[in-house]
Amino acid sequence: MNNDSRPLLLELKKVGKTFSEDIVALRDMDLKIHSGDFISLLGPSGCGKSTALRIISGLTEPTVGEVDWKVSHGSGAIGVVFQEATLLPWTTVEKNVWLPFRLQNKSFKEKKDEVERSLELVGLKDFTKSYPRELSGGMKMRVSIARALVTDPKVILMDEPFAALDEITRFKLNNDLLALRETLGCTIIFVTHSVFESVFLSDRIAVMAARPGRVIQELGVDEPYPRGESFRTSSSYGVICRNTSEALKLAMEN
């Protein structure tokens, strides 16, 4: 897809992160995120994918380099989804989705519509009053996604969100995530160590190498959306997966 026609949203410029003398999590990482991108960070564990996300979200300061935002980004500009659903167990699904607004001191009443819409988008409008412990792993993850969506963020950061789920649930959530993105046109940075997942979901894959962590190759996935089950079984999917695997292999030998 033609990324250059989309406006630039943010840019990592020569970002490096050194935790201690012998732990260089990232070095000279460059990455451009355009509005509407679905970009995957793919790499072996320990290559600094999570660190990159933490730097983008502002949780961690880079040691060198900078994150250059092209737009203003206040509270609610970033949505996050972790590997665990990370819900507040003591309150209901709808109150969990309201949380980002609650932290902006906006009442539940005021934001009820947004909360309901978000839950409807992830297919959970019948579970608004449930408690997290009553839900399955996949449903909890949906709540987590609804919470990330609810503020209509500029970018959604997802750190191996489906890695802990079974394959059937993961496929279903992959499809639904793409459908969501079609509807909302949101920008997503998606961390995964699954080649198949990254190819199926994203329009661009940044393959990362470890020690020090950096982007070693960027691959475009020039397949039109919407992508469905037919894409998963198509020959072009197979070809792209093979290319990506080879890039990843190269990254790991590096």
């Binding site: 502002g58 949780l59 206040g74 996050v80 972790f82 949380l99 932290l103 997290p132 412990r133």
Partner: protein
């Protein structure tokens, strides 16, 4: 062989009998009933043995009264006993309330300032590990007001479990949730109110259940030390006084009330805990199953 085949092929699968599952279910049911029945049976046997021992050996009631005499005494002396019980319960509850306020307040201060925590936590531990019975006499030297002295003793015993449990709870917030709050720009107050305090609730309630029993122990022990009675003395003094007069049945009756109070406090606090946690917390979940 043939009969098993028929069972497996049976059109209504509900009818298929699995011996192991059936046995397991029966055992579960027996335990459920037994949980109530067995303690009652043990209780009745104990009472009977007690009664029998007293009767057969002709033990005088100023050494060991039989259980019926204890109950009769309880009913006869109910006025004295109840007013004493009221005093003990008052001290206990007041101490527990102050322990909650003090313990939770201090725990919150601790989480707001690590420096404060590392400065003061060791002293909380020292206060806790020093037996109350050895501090109490000093307290009654320096504190003139008897009630305040009792309260102070009961508080010292009760507040530590609340402090340490609540501190632990406030500090054991899920780190991803902490990150989430940070990303959404939550301030310190929002983090405390919407994240740390709810996370700490199960820990706090665990501490509270322990503290309830300890407050009663503290109140009773302190009164033994305080000694002198008069108006406004509690059950501990009733026991002491009855002991001087060799009124053993009354000692037993007072003991019964103290034990009953302890059980009652524990039950109330357990119920409170269930009420607050049953919708979401794992501990309550497991109890239901």
């Amino acid at each position: 062989m043939a009969s098993t085949d028929i069972k497996v092929d049976s059109p209504s699968p509900n009818k298929v009998v699995d011996k192991n599952e059936l046995l397991k279910k029966r055992k579960e049911r027996n335990i459920k009933i037994g949980k109530w029945v067995m303690p009652i049976i043990v209780f009745m046997i104990t009472i009977y043995l007690w009664y029998w021992t007293v009767q057969v050996n002709n033990i005088p009631h100023y050494i060991l009264p039989d259980p019926f005499l204890v109950v009769t005494t309880l009913i006869q002396d109910i006025q004295i006993l109840l007013s004493a019980l009221q005093v003990t319960i008052q001290i206990t509850l007041m101490a527990l309330a102050v322990a909650v306020v003090g313990g939770v307040g201090l725990a919150i201060l601790f989480t707001q300032s690590k420096f404060f925590e590392i400065s003061f936590f060791p002293y909380a531990v020292i206060l806790q590990v020093t037996p109350i019975i050895s501090i109490a006499p000093l307290i009654f030297i320096y504190v003139d007001n008897r009630t305040v002295g009792l309260l102070l003793c009961a508080w010292i015993v009760a507040f530590f479990p609340i402090l340490s449990n609540t501190t632990l709870g406030l500090n054991s917030v899920d780190h991803n949730l902490k990150d989430l709050f940070k990303i959404y720009g939550a301030n310190r107050w929002q983090k405390l109110l919407h994240l740390q305090i709810p996370s700490a609730l199960p820990y706090f309630l665990g501490g509270l259940r322990i503290a309830g029993g300890l407050a009663l122990i503290g109140a009773v022990v302190a009164e033994y030390v305080a000694g002198t009675g008069g108006i406004g003395s509690g059950l501990a003094y009733t026991i002491l006084e009855a002991g001087y007069r060799l009124n053993i049945p009354r000692m037993f009756a007072a003991l019964l009330l103290i034990a009953g109070t302890g059980v009652f406090i524990f039950a109330i606090l357990s119920f409170l805990s269930h009420l607050l946690l049953h919708k979401w917390h794992e501990s309550a979940l497991q109890k239901e199953n």
